[in-house]
């Protein structure tokens, strides 16, 4: 049986175009009878514990070994691509304007706010190098890294995939993403590089050679690729 979930709190019914709907009580509609948690955009949410995240990451590692990173990345990519369409739909309904005729930073903040409300962390986008074909995204309080703690390596492959998938759909150009600094490496926040495959491969190579995020930024800005 298929049914459509719909957020129908009095706040939304009275003011469907309200934009500041990210407070906990506005954003979620809990229905104990149906057992559903529907967010403002009519998407079904599931609450999970940190144990779930540990189980997911470690379980996958046990099943597929080193391929778990690529698997998480691919899951993120598919999620991001699907979410780009989902976002386009609700954005255009809420703001009565085409997504691609909107101030880019405003559009991106609007996209990420749902994720912030869901506990995926705050972010900061640096579009300064966009014309050179790459950009950086900082994530504070990554749910995955915060859960796993300091394990000495990057762990937010799901986020990297999510950004790659979403931005690929947004700009209609194949983009990849790599985490070049992670809370789980003892840093204070996670940093992602988004760009074409060639640049991501170069960054991955430098990272394996022991480069820091700052080194990678400098080399990319200097136009290096290898």
């Amino acid at each position: 049986m298929a049914f459509t979930l719909s957020h129908q709190t009095s706040a939304k019914l009275k003011n469907p175009k309200k934009h500041n709907h990210y407070g906990f009580r506005d954003f979620y509609q809990f229905d104990p009878d149906k057992g559903t948690i529907v967010d403002w955009n009519n998407s079904q949410n599931v609450l999970t514990s940190e144990d779930f995240i540990i189980g997911l990451v470690e379980g996958l590692e046990e099943e597929v070994g080193d391929a778990s990173a690529a698997t998480m990345y691919t899951i993120g990519c598919e999620w991001g691509q699907k979410d780009a369409f989902f976002f386009e739909n609700w954005f255009e309904k809420e703001y009565d304007r085409p997504m691609r005729q909107t101030n880019l930073m405003f559009l991106l903040e609007t996209w990420w706010w749902s994720f912030t409300a869901q506990g995926w962390g705050r972010w900061e986008v640096d579009l300064g190098d966009r014309k050179q074909g790459f950009m950086f995204i900082n994530v504070f309080d990554s749910a995955v890294a915060r859960t796993l703690g300091d394990v000495g390596k990057p762990v937010c492959f799901l986020y990297a995939g999510l950004f790659a998938g979403f931005f690929t759909e947004l700009v209609k150009k194949q983009l990849s993403c790599i985490e070049i600094q992670c809370y789980s490496m003892g840093e204070t926040y996670c940093k992602f590089l988004l760009g074409g495959q060639e640049r991501i491969d170069a960054a991955s190579f430098w990272l394996n050679e022991g480069a820091t995020a700052r080194d990678i930024e400098k080399r990319l800005r200097a136009g290096e690729l290898k």
Binding site: N20, F106, W113
Partner: protein
């Protein structure tokens, strides 16, 4: 206030609240009349406040209402009205915490997306001066701390 009541309900689960824990309710009851009076005055004077803030800002720097060739006056007016109304409501129910949670955290990122921090900083500084002229000192004391929170959250880089 609502946040405090919610917290009180959680913290006193299964027991009676102490006098100390109930103090905020008495404080609120004492300030209630003044809050309603201030709220109604803000409602009546809303357009005058906005116009005065706009005029003072224009005198400080007309470029605060421009971004390149775009005239941002109407957008500024819409945003400032919205912030003033939310601020008045937060003052009425004495709940700046909800204002932050339900409005300011979101609005801060949106203002940053448009590089509007400078304009916001000036807006909520000037608004405090204007409010001091429009309200009595005891009325102004209720709303000024909220406008200062707005300035700090929206107006700093």
């Amino acid at each position: 206030m609502l946040s405090q009541i919610q917290r009180l309900a959680q913290e006193t689960e299964g027991r009676y609240a102490t006098d100390e824990e109930l103090r905020f309710l008495a404080d609120y009851a004492r300030s209630y009349e003044l809050r309603v009076q201030t709220y109604q005055k803000l409602q009546t004077c809303e357009m005058m406040i906005i116009q005065q803030v706009q005029a003072k800002m224009r005198a400080i720097d007309p470029m605060l209402f421009r971004q390149g060739n775009e005239d941002l006056t109407n957008k500024w007016k819409r945003d400032t009205l919205r912030v003033l109304r939310y601020s008045a409501a937060a003052m009425l129910i004495d709940d700046p915490e909800s204002l932050r949670e339900r409005f300011l955290f979101w609005f801060q990122t949106i203002m940053r997306a448009f590089n509007a921090q400078k304009s916001c900083g000036v807006t909520y500084t000037v608004m405090q001066d204007v409010i001091k002229q429009v309200l009595t000192p005891s009325e102004a004391n209720l709303i000024l701390p909220i406008l200062e929170v707005n300035r700090r959250m929206l107006g700093t880089v």
